[in-house]
């Protein structure tokens, strides 16, 4: 089976700075990969490269078998990216945000309430303009928008940050389900919590993937990359 993500010696520039300096990574369908690494090691850049927002200037990149930049039109409906920012419309309510996210992906908007509910965005929280929610509540709305769309590849940049304990576990459960469904998940994290069960930990440093760790189900203490 062809890998969901294949990077080989990928170099990517932002301005003149090589944010990726020869990264190698292979992720198979159904896998959950946790990317760790020091600040500035290139986790965000890796995710943006996979989403096709930053082009690879040398080396190879293939995502779901497609070129992330050249085949953007075909690829993008199949992936979902959550960056450091949430990308919500502050004037619209959580429900309206989720509905727009669905409709813009060409899907029916019925899935919105269920996804929001799953992430605990119900009642008042779903009705109030998203700009008024707390940081963690907004994060959950953004995650719910992704969940409703159920993309084949999830790219999440520190999705646990700002979430409370309950919803961190919830998120791990959701990611596990998605993986079981066949979706692939790549997420960056600094958390000292155990990686979700069945997740693989990968460490980045200096714009490279320095260790494509094996499957772990134990803890995240493994990645002591400074």
């Amino acid at each position: 089976m062809e890998p969901s993500v294949h990077l080989c010696a990928a170099v990517a520039l932002v301005g003149r700075y090589p944010v990726l300096a020869g990264a190698d990574l292979d992720v198979s369908p159904g896998e959950v990969v946790m990317v760790r690494g020091a600040n500035g090691s290139g986790k965000t850049s890796l995710l943006r490269v996979l989403a096709g927002l930053v082009p690879v200037v040398s080396g190879q990149a293939a995502v779901l078998g497609l070129d992330p930049v050249a085949d953007a039109r075909e690829l993008r409906p199949q992936l979902g990216l959550l960056g450091h920012r949430n990308g919500l419309y502050e004037e619209l309510s959580a429900l309206e945000n989720a509905r727009f996210s669905l409709r813009s992906a060409g899907l029916a908007k019925d899935a919105a309430p269920r996804a929001l509910e799953r992430l605990g965005v119900t009642g008042r929280l779903a009705q109030v303009p998203a700009g008024r929610l707390s940081a963690g509540q907004r994060r959950r709305v953004a995650l719910a928008c992704l969940l409703a769309r159920a993309p084949r590849l999830w790219l999440l940049d520190e999705p646990h940050a700002a979430l409370d304990a309950e919803h961190r576990d919830m998120l791990d459960a959701v990611l596990g389900e998605q993986a079981a469904r066949g979706a692939t998940v790549v997420f960056a994290s600094h958390e000292e919590r155990p990686a979700p069960l069945g997740a693989r930990t990968v460490a980045m440093s200096a714009g490279m993937v320095v260790e494509a760790g094996a499957l772990v189900g134990l803890g995240a203490g493994t990645a002591s990359v400074a």
């Binding site: 990216l81 990308g87 004037e91 996210s101 992906a105």
Partner: protein, 222 residues
């Protein structure tokens, strides 16, 4: 493409309905600009009447700039633009949708502004067909060029100053042609107003076509 345009336009208009920025802020601003022009030309009543079409279109231009800025600040304030890019919506659809939303707001604005001109400058309306047709064409120009350049300047630092700089020269001929068309319609000058309408139509076609074709690249790169 059309479906995508509808989705995007519906979203932008919903945001406007929630926040009422265009209604409560852009429209009054345009009226104030009109008044200010009145000040600047103070004591020259006949000149003011002569110049009223020009003033009208200048006010539309400045208010249009604001509307476009607003249309994109909504996208950039929390990084929603990346989502739009990754959404799978066709760029041409996004372009048409955003332009349509801006155009709807501008048309409402123009209606109110026309009233303002009539009241403030004693302009007498005439040649309604030409007036309306040229207003529609000019609005299409402003919305199309505005949204195209808005997408371009969006990702950049100092967006709020670069956009007006880029947009003003592009819209200068539109303002000129709109002014001339209105002058003819109102009988302030004797030229053939419908020829100016043709010019406006050509510009609208160019900007719309340019936006539909180029918006993908603009959005990608900015």
């Amino acid at each position: 493409m059309w479906r995508d345009a509808l989705v995007v336009a519906a979203k932008d208009l919903l945001i406007e309905r929630r926040s009422r920025v265009a209604m409560n802020q852009v429209v009054p601003y345009a009226l104030v600009v009109l008044l200010l022009f009145g000040f600047a030309f103070d004591q020259q009543r006949p000149l003011l009447e002569q110049a009223s079409p020009g003033l009208f279109w200048m006010a539309v231009l400045f208010a249009g700039l604001l509307a476009v800025q607003r249309s994109f600040s909504v996208e950039t304030s929390d990084g929603a633009m990346d989502n739009l890019r990754l959404s799978g919506l066709q760029p041409a659809g996004i372009f048409l949708g955003k332009a349509a939303a801006v155009a709807v707001q501008l048309i409402a604005l123009e209606a109110l502004l026309t009233l303002g001109v009539v009241v403030l400058f004693h302009t007498e309306l005439a040649g309604a067909g030409l007036l309306v047709a040229s207003a529609l064409a000019s609005t299409a120009c402003v919305a199309a060029a505005g949204v195209a350049y808005g997408a371009l300047s969006m990702g950049l630092r100092a967006r709020e100053t670069l956009l007006p700089l880029l947009l003003a020269p592009v819209l200068a001929p539109v303002v000129l042609a709109g002014t001339q068309a209105w002058r003819c319609a109102l009988g302030l000058s004797s030229g053939d107003g419908w020829r100016w309408l043709g010019v406006l139509g050509a510009f609208a076609a160019i900007y719309l076509a340019g936006g539909v074709l180029g918006f993908g690249a603009l959005m990608e790169e900015a």
